[in-house]
Every structure is written in structure tokens, then in C-alpha cells.
Symmetry: C2
């Protein structure tokens, strides 16, 4: 298909597609004349992936390129997922040193129950510790009692995440699906959780008649 059709098919404006081509987020089309090129289904798929990483994942152009390079260079799945996870914006919260140590000890205890590897250089560990610290700073230390419960549910959610991609046929599809799942998965689960919270909250505290 030509550039105009690629734009219509993907919903991405021509100028934006040209920008992605220049930035190396999209492989060049097959040149058919000095100023025309042909694009295929792979380009449509790649464009949608780029938009998901930019719009939903909030990744920078440079980070998107890094994730795509991992997919294209046939890094192993675990490595590409690691790059994606690090590229995603995680809440980073500054907490003082005693709070950080308290939170790290708590996370280590819960992680040990679940068999998680908590490498200190992992930014996800940093994010979890910062968030736990922020809860503590707001006096919500009773969270401690429920953290193991959240971790157990996180394992169940992750099992569903992995089940969804395990059966896919090709390596490339698996990696792409895992990337998409990581990026869109948080947004989807956050929305479901709020719907569930609204339901539970309406049941616990019915709105006063007005």
C-alpha cells in the first residue's frame, strides 16, 4: 500500500508517519520510484505498536526505539520484557533512608514468600519501595498486613498475563504481545480495579439520598 493508505489504515497522519520513519521507529517501505514507497501489513502493525507505547505507555521516542530494537534484534523474551518494564514510567518517590530500609525489609519478606528475585538495581523494586514509603509517610502502616495479599493477587494477575501470550505461534508475536500486555495491561487493570472499588464502596457506604 502507499503512504496515504498506510495513514488511512492505521489512523496515523502522514506527517507523523514520516517523522517515525526519520526517527527509525518504522522500517522504510520498499521503494517503487524515487519519491514513492510501498508499505505492507507489518508497517500497519508496527505503527499501532508505536502508538500504544507512546500514547498509553507514555514512553519517549528514544525509549520506544530501544524496545523495538530489542524486538527486532531477537533478544530473548525475558530481556525485551525487562527493557520494556524499565522504559515504562514508574512512580519514583523520594523517601528518607530509615523509611526506605523499612520498606525494603517489608518487600523482601513478602517477595521471599512469593519466590520473587528482588535485585537492588531493578527500578521496579525502587518504585515499590518508594510507594510503600509514601504510604508509611501518610501513616498508612496498617498496609503491612495486606501487602502479602496484594503480592499473591499480583502473582495471579501475572499468571493470566503470561497465559495470554504463551500460546501464540511465532516468537515475534509473543514478544510484541508481551510488550503490548505490559503497556496496556496496567491501564486496563487500573480501570477494572476502580470499577470494582466503586461497586464495593457503594455497597459499604451507600450514598446519602440527595
Amino acid at each position: 500500500m502507499r503512504m496515504a493508505e498506510l495513514s488511512a489504515e492505521s489512523g496515523v497522519p502522514v506527517a507523523t508517519i514520516k517523522y517515525y520513519l526519520r526517527e527509525g521507529l518504522l522500517p522504510p517501505g520498499e521503494r517503487t520510484s524515487p519519491n514513492q514507497a510501498r508499505y505492507d501489513r507489518e508497517h500497519v502493525r508496527r505503527l499501532k505498536l508505536v502508538r500504544a507505547l507512546l500514547d498509553v505507555g507514555g514512553l519517549s521516542i528514544a525509549r520506544v526505539r530501544e524496545v523495538l530494537d530489542g524486538i527486532d534484534e531477537h533478544d530473548d523474551i525475558h530481556k525485551v520484557l525487562g527493557t520494556t518494564q524499565r522504559a515504562l514510567q514508574l512512580s519514583r518517590i523520594a523517601v528518607d533512608e530509615p523509611t526506605r530500609e523499612w520498606a525494603m525489609a517489608l518487600l523482601a519478606k513478602v517477595g521471599a514468600l512469593r519466590g520473587w528475585e528482588l535485585r537492588p538495581d531493578n527500578p521496579v523494586v525502587d518504585s515499590a519501595v518508594g510507594t510503600l514509603g509514601a504510604f508509611a509517610a501518610l501513616g498508612r502502616t496498617e498496609l503491612v498486613e495486606r501487602l502479602a495479599g496484594y503480592a499473591e493477587l499480583a502473582d495471579q494477575v501475572a499468571a493470566l498475563d503470561l497465559a495470554g501470550i504463551r500460546g501464540l505461534p511465532e516468537r515475534e508475536t509473543v514478544v510484541e504481545a508481551a510488550v503490548v500486555g505490559t503497556v496496556l495491561g496496567d491501564a486496563l487493570f487500573a480501570a477494572l480495579r476502580r470499577l470494582a472499588q466503586e461497586h464495593a464502596s457503594a455497597t459499604s457506604w451507600p450514598a446519602s439520598p440527595s
Copy 2:
């Protein structure tokens, strides 16, 4: 305590505290002389809440004021939670009309299983529909089979969320705790889910030796 102590206690710079006072995010202290005021523990607590809403929740100053007004005006808990949920940044993804209808029908089916109320004017419903549509646009329609599973786990997470605040003594604490839980809760669960995914992914696809 004086302004300097409030700053030291909360970790928020004096200039920033003055800005929050001007913006009405923090109630004025008790005036002790024409250019001095006294602040108390409530100010420290409120400052930490403001920081959580701004830094972790990514709310604008105007949205923070709206949430705080709800807390201070003794709106019912369900209403304050609704304001908070609407104020939080949700992923909004544009999808075409047939995809939107497909996603809405799917969500309605799963929501009915869980007893959720899905009002069309609820931005959370919009966010869920948009994210489902984005999955579909990327060819991940096999997600359909797992959506009911995610919804069930979301109910379990929400039950833990509510359990954490139900036992708290005062109305104000309950509302504050609910707000904090909604804002920090997503960040915490997203981090736990990634740790669980890493664990599951390392088990499924061990990294090649390097």
C-alpha cells in the same frame, strides 16, 4: 510549630508551602503576629496528602483542591472517592465506533457477572473501553477469554483496598485513607505485578546464558 519547622517536618520547601497556602490547598495557620503563624500536626498531614496527590497521582493543583474540598465539606465517602477517581489521570484512547461498541458489549457482559454498575457517563468506563479497544486494534482479541478472570481479580484487590480503610476510627481518616489508597494503590500494584511478571517470565523463558 512555625513555618520553618513545618517545612522541616514535611520535607516541603517553605516557598512551596507558601504557594499551597495561596492556592488554598493548605488551611492558613493560626496567626500569632502580623507576619507569623503557627501550624500543627494537621498541616503536616495535609501537606503529605497534597504531595501524594500531586506527585504520585499526577493531579493538577485545581484537581487537588477539588478532592480536598470534598474531604473538608464532609461529602459522603462514595462521592469523595468518585471525585478522586475522576481526577486521576486515566489513559484515554481514541478508538473507532465499531471497536468501541464491541468493547462496551464485552465490558457490559463481564460487569454483569460481577454486579458492577457501568454508567456511560463514568470516565472509568470510558478508559476501560478505550484500553480494550486498543488491545483489539493490536490484534489481541484473545484477551476476551481472560477479561472475566481479570475482573474477578480486580474485585479481590478492591476488597483488600476497602478492608484496609473500613476499620479506621474517624470519618476524616477513612476518606483520606481511601484517597491515598486510590492514588498510591495503582502505583503499588503496578510495581508488584511487574515483579510477579518478571518472576513468571524468568520461569517460562529462562534467559539464554551470556
